[in-house]
Each structure stands twice: as C-alpha cells, then as structure tokens.
C-alpha cells in the first residue's frame, strides 16, 4: 500500500540522517523512479533549500504531495516528525545516558563518510550535463561555487541560478 510505504520511507530516512540535506542521498534512491522524476527531485530539494524552515519537513511535503496528494503530504510529514518526537518520549533519556558511551559516537563517526558519499552521488547526478561540456552548466556551477565560498546566502544563490537558467535555456 502506497501510503504505508511513503510513511516508512520518511521514517527511515529521518532516523538515519541528521539534517535535511544529509537525507537526500537516501531519499533520492527511494523516491526517484517511483514517484518523482529526477527533475522533480531537483525542484523538491531546491525549494526546500530556498524556503526558510526545516528542510526535512519541506521535502516531506513536496514529495508527499507528488506521491499521493494531500494525504501523502500528511503521511510523509508524520513519518518525518516521528523520529524526533518518539525518541523524546523515553528513548531520549536512554540516549542521553548512552551519549557517554564510546560506541554511540563511533557509530555516528561511521555514518559520516557514508552520508557524505551519498550526498556526493546526488550532486554528481545533478552535474552530469556538465560532462557533455554544456557550457551553461559549467558556468552556473562555477558561479555558484564562487558565490557560496564568499558566503552569500545559499537561498539567494539557488534562486539566482534558477533565474539565470530561465535566460540561458530559452
């Protein structure tokens, strides 16, 4: 049943990720091809990064609507909200004690390279047109890199890139 799968996916992804952006590796694998095209996934992540507020919730909303309309949005939202709230109810006390245990921080240290690699694989997919030497992609990538390095706000950089795209791809 679609709604159940949707719930489970967002629950899983939010248990294994510490931030909205970190979750995109797993999310991409789960939802692209099933409910979203690559292009729509890009839109989801972009708008989640541009709009203020929790990225994780925004991704849940966008993808949820695509998958199953308003019901999908609620379900995905619930799945994303559950890990932090359920944990708070009792398990969080346990984790607080375990925090001093070496193995918890080692586990997180192990997760880190895997998450980074997954994130890079999504970034790679997004940049693939650059390989066919599409000068526009290269230009936009270089421009954004310089802008982000100079600490311009990410939301503004993304918006600017999108607007430039409207002009470049006419």
């Amino acid at each position: 049943m679609d709604l159940l799968t949707l719930f489970w996916i967002f629950l899983k992804v939010n248990l294994l990720s510490v931030s909205g952006l970190a979750s995109i590796g797993l999310l991409h694998h789960e939802v692209v091809g099933r409910w979203l095209s690559d292009e729509q996934f890009t839109q989801a992540v972009s708008f989640a990064s541009i709009l203020p507020g929790s990225d994780a919730l925004q991704l849940a909303m966008f993808i949820g609507i695509r998958a199953h309309g308003i019901a999908g949005a609620w379900i995905a939202l619930l799945g994303s909200l559950l890990p932090p709230t359920v944990l708070m109810l009792g398990v969080v006390l346990l984790l607080y004690r375990l925090r001093r245990e070496a193995w918890i921080s080692s586990f997180v240290e192990g997760l880190t390279p895997a998450v980074a690699v997954l994130m890079l694989s999504v970034a790679w997919k997004l940049l693939q047109p650059a390989l066919s030497l599409d000068w526009r992609v290269i230009l936009l990538a270089l421009g954004s890199w310089l802008a982000l390095r100079s600490n311009l706000p990410p939301a503004a950089v993304l918006l600017a890139s999108g607007l430039a795209g409207i002009l470049l791809y006419r």
């Binding site: 203020p52 929790s54 919730l57 192990g110 390279p113 940049l127 999108g162």
Partner: protein, 179 residues
C-alpha cells in the same frame, strides 16, 4: 535568574510565536539558536536549562529546527510547551512548501519552469557537495580510516548495495573502526 511566573497558556503562546518567527527568518542552525536564546532565556527559562536543552538536541538524530523546538519547548513549559513550540516551527515550512509545490505542479510544463530547474541544478550540486564536505570533515582532522570507509561505501554503492544498508553498515563498522 528565575523567570517571572506566567500562566501556562500565555507561556505556550509565546513559545509558539518565538518558534514561528525563527522558522520564518533563518535557515541555519546556529543563527536560530542565538535568536531563540534572546527570546527565551531570562523570560521563559534559565540559561542553564537552555544550554542543556540545546546540547541534548545534538545527540538525537533529526531536523535541527524541530529538535530545538521540542527540547527548548519542553524545558520551558513541559509537554504543552513542547507541542506549542513544535507547531510554531512546523507551520512556516509546511505552509510555504505547500504553496510552492502546488504552484510548481501548475507550471510544471512551462518552458520557464524547465529553464529554472535546469539552471538551479548546478548550483544545488555545488551546495550539496560543499555540505557533503562539511559533513565529512565535521570540524576535525580527517582520519585515514574515514577515507577508507568512504571508499568502501562508494564501492558498495557502485556494486549495487541499497544505500540505506550501506549507511547502516557504515555506522556499525564505525563502532569497531573508530574505537
């Protein structure tokens, strides 16, 4: 310093507004903590509890904005406080994204939406790559074992292991590798 006594309802309303405001303004974690501090410490809770709540929220996985709302809300006003803060935090991202998603759906096939998406893709890729780098190096020196683990994950993914499994196994190997 002890905060003045207020009715729980008023406290919850103030918590709701504080977290609503934060989530309308900032996108980043650290900036929002500063803002919340000014709104909350001295007026709704003591500094010590605040620091404790923030530290606590770093242990638990999940969205920064939500955790902050929950733990600070709980610390300041019990279960009611947590719920009020959470609702304030949830409203901006969900409503704004709802509007955007519906708009995108409307304009999906227009050439300018297409152009916008193609234009944003490289910028997004760079943003993600920079974030991935930050995640990887996490404020500390990069250990050789971390690089090794990263390469193993890459290999596993190329072979076709499901990403969820790769992440989980990486965490478990971490327990042994980073003892």
């Amino acid at each position: 310093m002890t905060p003045p006594a207020t009715s729980p309802f008023r406290l919850w309303t103030r918590l709701f507004w504080t977290f609503l405001k934060v989530n309308l303004m900032t996108s980043s974690g650290p900036a929002s903590v500063g803002f919340i501090y000014r709104e909350v410490v001295g007026k709704m809770m003591e500094e010590e509890r605040f620091i404790e709540a923030v530290g606590f929220s770093n242990v638990v996985p999940g969205s920064e904005a939500l955790k902050l709302a929950m733990f600070i809300g709980y610390s300041a006003g019990g279960m009611g406080g947590a719920i009020a803060a959470l609702m304030g935090a949830i409203l901006p991202p969900t409503v704004s994204m709802l509007l955007v998603a519906l708009a995108v759906q409307q304009f999906q096939d227009t050439p300018w939406m297409r152009g916008f998406t193609r234009g944003i893709a490289p910028a997004l890729a760079i943003l993600i790559a920079m974030a991935a780098w930050k995640v990887f190096h996490n404020g500390r020196r990069i250990r050789k074992r971390a690089v090794l683990l990263a390469l193993l994950c890459l290999l596993a993914l190329l072979i076709g292991f499901p990403p969820g499994l790769v992440v989980l196994l990486a965490g478990i190997s971490g327990i042994w590798l980073f003892r």
